[in-house]
């Protein structure tokens, strides 16, 4: 025979809870939830707009850069971009000076 003295009778509690809510909570909660959900939806839409705008601007910048290539620098030969080119101009100038001095 099963001993029930060591088993709690759950029917004494059933589904009752010691919790309660403010008066009218669920009536107000329904509208509040709908408002929050709609607000979140609008926030997400604006995030998409912002991301799309940034992407368009980046794409536009890339197109503009490709459409207008960097102009060629005509002073490259005079100022030189390599040490060899610089030495060539120096040697030429030194040669010119000595030629003039030969006429003292």
């Amino acid at each position: 025979m099963k001993n029930n003295q060591h088993i709690f009778d759950f029917d004494k509690v059933g589904k009752r809870l010691p919790y309660n809510v403010p008066d009218g909570f669920f009536d107000n909660s329904e509208q509040r939830l709908k408002t929050k959900v709609n607000a979140k939806q609008h926030t997400i839409k604006w995030h998409y707009v912002a991301v799309a705008t940034v992407a368009v601007l980046i794409g536009l910048a890339a197109v503009i850069r490709l459409s207008y290539p960097k102009p060629e620098n005509t002073n490259t030969i005079v100022y030189g971009s390599t040490e060899q080119q610089n030495n060539e101009w120096t040697d030429f100038a030194e040669a010119d000076i000595f030629m003039e001095n030969m006429n003292w």
């Binding site: 010691p18 919790y19 669920f26 939830l33 929050k36």
Partner: protein, 170 residues
Amino acid sequence: MRLIADKLTTEILIERFQEPLYWYIRRMVVGHEDAQDVLQDTFIRVHLHLNELKDTSQIRPWLYRIATNEALQWLRRHHEFVSLDTDGASSLIETLRTDEYTDTTDQLLILFQEAVLTLPTMQRTIFNLRYYDELSYKDISEITGSSVGAAKTNYHIAKEKISNYILSHQ
């Protein structure tokens, strides 16, 4: 047109399920204000992912799974240590005793909830889903990620623990 239909569906879910989901969440997080916050997060997530639900016959376990995840995330954020096999009972019991919207006049009800709160989180979740919300073990297994057999075992162990707790504290 599709957006309007989605909006209405979310609204219908709020109308039909906000109350049972609130009480389910309340049993998990205990405090009224906290349950309100988690309920809100739950329905926001419902709205964001509603179009992913293919089988509307599964709407109830789907909603409870989202609510469970939101409640567990809240518990992890707000209590010292919560995992699926341990519990953060002490702080939750403290909330049970001090929350503005807890009726402490019926000590048996308080003791019963204390007993439930001492269960490991997974066991407590399964117990609440079965005992209060009367979900099937199949639905409970989908919600919690456990097997049907494990859900049944956990439920019966939970009842035994609750019984022992109450009998030892009366």
